[in-house]
Symmetry: C2
Subunit: 305 residues, 2 copies
Amino acid sequence: MNLRDLKYIVAVADCSHFGHAAERCHVSQPTLSGQIRKLEDELGITLFERTKRSVAITPVGETIVAHAREILEQAKTIRQLAQSHQDPLVGPLRIGAIMTLSPYLMPLILKPLRDRLPQMQLVLSEEMTETLLERLRKHEIDAALIATPVDAGEFSTIPLFDEAFWLAHPRNHPFQEKKNITQKDLDNTELLLLSEGHCLADQAMEVCHMKARAEQGDMADLHAASLETLLQLVGVGFGCTLVPDLAVQGIRMNDKDIITRRLQQKDAYRRVSLVFRRSFPRRQALDAFIEVVLDNLPDTVIRLS
Amino acid sequence: MNLRDLKYIVAVADCSHFGHAAERCHVSQPTLSGQIRKLEDELGITLFERTKRSVAITPVGETIVAHAREILEQAKTIRQLAQSHQDPLVGPLRIGAIMTLSPYLMPLILKPLRDRLPQMQLVLSEEMTETLLERLRKHEIDAALIATPVDAGEFSTIPLFDEAFWLAHPRNHPFQEKKNITQKDLDNTELLLLSEGHCLADQAMEVCHMKARAEQGDMADLHAASLETLLQLVGVGFGCTLVPDLAVQGIRMNDKDIITRRLQQKDAYRRVSLVFRRSFPRRQALDAFIEVVLDNLPDTVIRLS
DNA sequence: TAGAATTATCGGTTTTCCCTATATCGGACC
DNA sequence: GGTCCGATATAGGGAAAACCGATAATTCTA
């Protein structure tokens, strides 16, 4: 059996005439006759009762043709489905982003994205870096926005932009008196950090030359689960923290108890990249997505392409 | 696209491994790879995201494979349908019979038929000869039991048995005194007849050398619509009629006011045949049906095979 | 009885499918 | 780092199938 054969028998059932059916199927009448004969042999039944003068379908033939029609409909559906997905920009794009980036970046790009790529449906998720990479591996997401370098291996990485760290301290903190915050100031300060697994914590520690988390002892209970929580803690005077640029842009106006200050250090930034499986087939969708992202970043970040 | 291709993509979707899928489909791995590649090209989309190390289905691929599964199910259904109809004895057999035969023959054969050919479902209809032939032509029935010769042409005819005509007259009719009813007696008698179109009326007229119906004038109002009605008329003394053998066997015991007598004439019988389209494919079903009919006729009829 | 219409058959050509062998790539192991 | 193992992809040739044109066979029509 064969989709072609089914098309043939449906045509004959419709036309009750081998010649006309053959014409409809764009084959010669002998070809169509032969194929139908072969199908009948294969099924072991007579589908059409032929005389030299007429063609009539048998009762079994009738029910089988009904099934054949359904099959051909389904096949058409498959072709249409494929058709509508031929444009790689069309269809859902599943993007994951780290939690210290997503809430501040997404509001900037969602609307432009909807305007520029209305056919692309963005499916967002927020996870920590390791979880994102794991989900990439399991094909649960198509790409991840992270701020940690990954080995080439199975993934490709496209650097998007560098994002400076700002210092956030409470209104009446000693830092308020200082004009410039130096590397030394930072080194002597205990920062409030996000809980384990958040890359921001590691990056902050690196910037401040802090020791590994494991050696810090009882500071652990001050590790917050989200940047928002962290800023709340800063707001009520618990201490300072480092905040990436996009988050600063997002919060600066809202809270009078938090002072955010640019750091002078050259290396106080993190590099945000898009990571995806090297084999991901809709590369053009990613390129289009990247373009929208870069076009809608504030000028406080440094674009990399 | 192709049923084989769909089988291939379902296999790959199930196995996530070209080699294993190829094994399941009993083809080599390059063959399967090539066909899937070709299908992807034809559809213009990527169904599977492959690395040298692994295979994962794309979202479009997922939905397409779902449709493919349904198609394959339908195809399986077709094959099963064909399978269960491969025995020509299986399935409905639509038999039409003339109204002067059906009520007396069918009771004799229905039970034996159900015993001997339980898989064959008999669909009965009763019509006049012309209507039966028309329905044969339109494939509405598969065969007809009639008592009139038909031209070979599109139909085949198998004679089944000869059925004698009996004379039926009321209890106190002049015929009662006679020991033998002669041809001459009949010729001088006006018979009650069935209404136009029933072959029995023509046959009775022929046996009695009656003139054509059109010339009979006001006898028309005594033409009955069924044999049972005719016999009721005989029973209440309206006149005589000819009754075919099987009907006599059916009614003889029931009515004390009707006398049935065998005719001595050699040609006072009608030939009952089975007629069917020459192209009808289930000839064996007809043969089996005929065998059951012949095996269950009373010995008062003369079997012809 | 000739002609038109219709399905079946035949021989040869083209297309498709399939297989074996091999290339290529990525990961694992030493 | 080299080598082997496990995957998928590619190439070439051979077998099967599908297809076509021409023609036969049959039946209806005029």
